[in-house]
Symmetry: C2
Subunit: 253 residues, 2 copies
C-alpha cells in the first residue's frame, strides 16, 4: 500500500500566465492550458483519504465537492497558499482540519472567522502523525513566515514536499540526510540569480540545498514565469534526476 | 449615450451553493449553473471602459484579460469583495486604479504589497467623478467596515448600487431622495428576521430603506442560500417592482 501526490498548482504567487504579461512563457501558457501554473498546492491520496497540501487554488469547492477533502496540510499562511480557505470556511455541517505551523497572525481574518475550519492541531517541528498507513512528518523550512515542509513515508517509499523555502534549516537538512527519498519536491521559483535569493530558491540554491541528501527524483515547483522562460533555453543543463513539476502531474509512491 | 451594468456575482460570502450544503437552494444551484451565485460584484460598461464594482470573483484574470479592466470601484475590503485582488496585483507593466473608501486596514497584505494596484484615489463621502459621459458618486453605507455605494448617472437615467449595507445612513437616504432612480440594487442577504439584522439587510429592512425613494426597478443582490430558500415559497409576495438579481443579468441605462 502506497500513496500518490498530484500537483494541483506549480506556480508562484503571480501564477503563469502573469496578468498582462506577454513574455514567451506567459504567451505559451495562455494558448496552451497544460502549460499554466496555478498557486503551488497538491493533493495527497492515502487509502481513500484526500489531504490537500495548501489551499491557494480558488476552485477547490468545485474540484473537491464535500466531503472529498479529508483535511489540509498547510505549509504557511501567505495569500497564494491560503486564499482558497476564505470561501471554504463558510461551508456547513462539517469540520475541516487545517494542520499548519504555529503562526500567531495566520491569513486575513481566518482566525477571527474560521467557520468550519479547525486550526487547533498545529504541528511541532519534526512531529509525526499517522494518516492510515502513511507517516507524515512536518519539517521546518526557511521563509518569511513560519513555514513547514511535509515528508510522507510508507513501506513503498518516501516523498518530501518542501516549499516555500530558500535553502533548509540545518536541523531539517540533518533530519533528511538520514532518510532516503524516492521523491523530493522543492521550491525553485527563480532562474539562477547573481546574489543569494530571499524567501525562495533559485536554481542554484535549490540544487545546493539537496546536496548530501539521497534523492532518487527531484521535482522543482513554485515556478515563476521567469523560471519558465529560463527553462525554454536551459532545461537540458539540469542534472538528469531533476524534473519540472506541472499542474496535474502525479507521483506514485 | 447610456451605460450598462452586468452582475458578475449576486451571492453572499458563502456563495450559492454553500460548501457541503444540501438544502433545496444549494442542490438546485449545484445542478443548474444559472442558479449559482458568486461573490457580489458587477461590471459597469461606459463608452468602451469596463469598471468592476468589487473584485471578489477569483476568475477575473481569465474573464477580463488585460487590459480589459479599466479600474475597480471597491465598496469595501471584506474578503468576499476583495479576494480577487490578491492575484491581480501581481500583474506587470500597468497600473490598476482601485477607488475605494478610506480604510486604514484594507484587506490582508494588499496595502503592504500592492503590486500594480493603486489605492491612492480614495473617495470622500458624496464625491462625484466623471467616467466618460457618466457621473459616478460614492455614497456612505452602513456596514461593519467603511463601505460605499455607487450611483451612476447619465442623460438616460440613474442607477444606484448599494451593498453591503443594513439600512442607510440618514445623509445617504436624504441624498438619494433628491434623485429619482431608474434602477436601485440593494443588499438583501436574508429572509425576514425576527429582530433587526446586523451588517446586511433582510427583506424587511431592504424594503424599508427604500421607502421615500423614487425607484422604478429595485434589484436584490448579495443573497444567501437561506434567502434563495425563502424565495422558492415567497417570491410572489414581493412588490411588483422588486426583482431578484442573477449572475450574468444585465441592466441598461
Amino acid at each position: 500500500m502506497g500513496f500518490s501526490l498530484e500537483f494541483l498548482g506549480t506556480g508562484d504567487s503571480a501564477q503563469v500566465p502573469v496578468y498582462n504579461c506577454n513574455c514567451i512563457a506567459c504567451l505559451r501558457a495562455r494558448s496552451d492550458e497544460s502549460l499554466r501554473r496555478g498557486p503551488s498546492s497538491a493533493v495527497v491520496r492515502i487509502a481513500g483519504q484526500q489531504w490537500l497540501i495548501d489551499a491557494g487554488r480558488m476552485d477547490l469547492a468545485e474540484r473537491f465537492p464535500a466531503p472529498q477533502i479529508t483535511g489540509i496540510l498547510q505549509t504557511h499562511y501567505h495569500a497564494d497558499h491560503a486564499q482558497g480557505l476564505l470561501h471554504l470556511r463558510w461551508g456547513v455541517n462539517m469540520r475541516l482540519p487545517v494542520w499548519g505551523p504555529e503562526d500567531p497572525v495566520g491569513f486575513a481574518d481566518l482566525y477571527k472567522h474560521p467557520g468550519i475550519l479547525d486550526f487547533s492541531q498545529t504541528w511541532q517541528p519534526f512531529e509525526s502523525r499517522k494518516i492510515a498507513h502513511v507517516t507524515v512528518t512536518a519539517v521546518p523550512l526557511q521563509h518569511s513566515k513560519p513555514c513547514l515542509g511535509y515528508v510522507f513515508e510508507s513501506a513503498k517509499g518516501r516523498c518530501a514536499y518542501l516549499t516555500d523555502t530558500v535553502g533548509l534549516p540545518t536541523e531539517t537538512h540533518e533530519w533528511l540526510q538520514q532518510r532516503p527519498l524516492t521523491y523530493c519536491v522543492v521550491d525553485c521559483s527563480h532562474p539562477p540569480q547573481d546574489s543569494t535569493p530571499r524567501n525562495h530558491n533559485d536554481v542554484t540554491s535549490a540544487l545546493a540545498m539537496c546536496e548530501g541528501l539521497d534523492i532518487q527524483q527531484l521535482y522543482f515547483t513554485h515556478l515563476s514565469h521567469e523560471m519558465d522562460q529560463w527553462l525554454l533555453k536551459h532545461k537540458n543543463s539540469l542534472p538528469s534526476h531533476v524534473h519540472i513539476a506541472r499542474d496535474g502531474m502525479h507521483l506514485f509512491c
